[in-house]
Amino acid sequence: MDLYEYQGKELFERFGIPVSEGRLAATPQEARAAAEELGGPLVVKAQVLTGGRGKAGGVKLADGADDAEAKAEDILGLDINGHVVRKVWIERASDISKEYYLSITFDRGAKKPLYMLTTEGGIKIEQVAEENPDALARLHVDVLEGFQPYQARRLVYGAGIDDPNEQKQILGIVEKLYRCFVESDAMLTEINPLIVTPDGDVRALDSKFTVDDSALFRHPDIAEMRDVEAADPQERLAREKGVTYVKLDGSVGILGNGAGLSMSTVDVVVVAGGRPANFCDLGGGGDAQGVVDALEVITSDEQVRSIFFNIFGGITRCDEVARGILAALDQMKIELPIVVRLDGTNAEEGRRILAEAAPPNLYVEPTMLEAAQRAVELAA
């Protein structure tokens, strides 16, 4: 789960990482009120779960309450990479003398948290890594050893930060960020830029924060931060129904069982020349309710022209899935063409059940590839 800048900063603050004071606003009026409370020169920042908001006009300076209201008016409603801005974060403007970068990522390859620190902040870290790798201090942490102060020193000296006042503050922030990362079950915590003000104060000016979905059960406060309204309407419906669903941009609705097979089904539709409308994993079940829920989500996408059911029965029995499909069709009155491919446990029985019922819009195909081809044809 990705957090907004202001949410990540809230967590930073909880762990003692300095941030600028700010307020959230959903309307220009709220922005004005926030600016009045905060006083002084301000920054109005679009809160969106995507990068590039600066270039898209989503970050603006304001020199007072009137201006903040006007800038919020400009920014709210902007479409940034398909994300509509519904909230802005208004904070005291910072004088910036230097921009650094500090992050901890969950390094799957090394199976360790990975620290990165560089004085080349404000730009994309991939660019620093490529163009100036020596400027990037990297350090893995052994989770059983945990944070040790030397790690912060290696990073700070490794990045070439030599002002003692900066060193002192950043050593502290490096340590606090580890606690924040571990205790929030984060997959990513990034401060870019980590600024130094002309007075020598170090602060997190932005936040990028991803929390492990599987760990949200023990962070109800973070789980509540989820902005359900920001999600795609289909994805929002899927979440409500407990359906594993990812919206894509095509016309062939896809329903598989198991993540790997469902991903493969999406690929095979592309191989067959089609454009998948979604990824949807029925999971281990196959009962009527599961099929109904998944079909509801898939058909709520108006781009869908055909639906491809790709089921490989393992523990899931194909006859049960067949009955589930028929029950769902019965309940939902779907008129879209549905292509079904059943294989594995009790596949013959499943095919027989479908053949007997023979709904007019149901096509049964013998293999995954043939079924994909048929679904693509029917969506055309």
């Binding site: 948290p113 997959m187 095979v268 594995g344």
Partner: protein, 292 residues
């Protein structure tokens, strides 16, 4: 032979008295796996159709000589169950449970690596050595005995490929589902090493998917250490970045973890990559007939 599970497996099922544990534990036993014990705290002294239940894994080791554990306990209790198994001296732990927090698994992973135990999963379908033992939820009836070692991050996709192989008359030495989480106990490399050493395995099939860099590492490992033919399939070519595709580990982060990058890494070391499950089965069949 076969790898990880075989006729020497003495299985304890942690969570045997739960509905999933009972269903699959008995299924595994019916297949011929030597299921010697179950563990459910508070139910020690009971039995599940003749399989004795203990309060702790340590008791199952002492009283029933269990050497392999299959874990079906819910996510919040799963890491505790893994620690319990490893600390009780269980050499092979196979964890089916999904949704274990990634940070917990980092700790478990680091801890058990230091202990020399083998762990498969979590969020995996288990391990099947056809004709010998089935530990987990793999539907064994799809597979037959043979010379193909299969290692995969996915369950149903493995069944699909196994099914296609079976239809081509090919069987498996062992099918290893390593699991779909960001941190799993065994990467591709561990089973690859075992397949290379296993006399029954003649050809190896690797089934990967988007996310992480385990396929890339496997490619390097194959280049340096594997003499047997290896073929591969990767799922998720059409997956968008930043979206979790069913498995917690199946996510393209930035530009890292794409199927295309994995395909290229595998092909660079001479591993053929099929574009559909059907194609990979056909490639395996071709290679197998040449090799045998």
């Amino acid at each position: 032979m076969a790898v990880i599970v075989d006729n020497d497996t003495r299985l304890v099922v942690q969570g045997l008295t739960g509905s999933e544990g009972r269903f699959h534990g008995l299924r595994n036993r019916n297949y011929g796996t030597n299921v010697v014990a179950g563990v459910t705290p508070g139910k020690g002294g009971q039995d599940v159709e003749g399989i004795p239940v203990f309060n702790t894994v340590a008791e199952s080791v002492t009283a029933a000589s269990a050497n392999t554990s299959l874990i079906f306990v819910p996510a919040r209790f799963a890491t505790d169950a893994i620690y319990e198994a490893v600390d009780a001296g269980i050499g092979t732990v196979i964890c089916i449970t999904e949704h274990i927090p990634a940070h917990d698994m980092l700790r478990v992973y680091t801890y058990i690596r230091g202990k020399g135990a083998t762990m498969i999963g979590p969020n995996c379908p288990g391990v099947l050595s056809p004709g010998k033992a089935n530990v987990g939820i793999i539907p064994a009836e799809i597979f037959s005995e043979g010379g193909i070692g299969l290692v995969s991050r996915s369950g149903t996709l493995t069944y699909q490929i196994g099914h296609e192989l079976t239809q081509l008359g090919l069987g498996n030495s062992t099918i290893v589902g390593i699991g779909g989480d960001p941190v799993v106990g065994s990467s591709f490399i561990d089973p690859l090493e075992r397949f290379e050493a296993d006399p029954e395995t003649e050809v190896i099939v690797l089934v990967g998917e988007i996310g992480g860099d385990e396929e890339e590492k496997a490619a390097r490992y194959v280049q340096e250490h594997v003499t047997k033919p290896v073929l591969a399939y990767i799922a998720g070519f059409s997956a968008p970045p930043g979206k979790t595709m069913g498995h917690a580990g199946a996510i393209i982060s930035g530009s890292a973890g794409t199927a295309q990058a994995k395909k290229e890494a595998l092909e660079a070391v001479g591993i053929e990559v099929g574009t559909t499950p059907t194609e990979v089965a056909r490639l395996v069949s071709d290679r197998f007939r040449i090799h045998s």
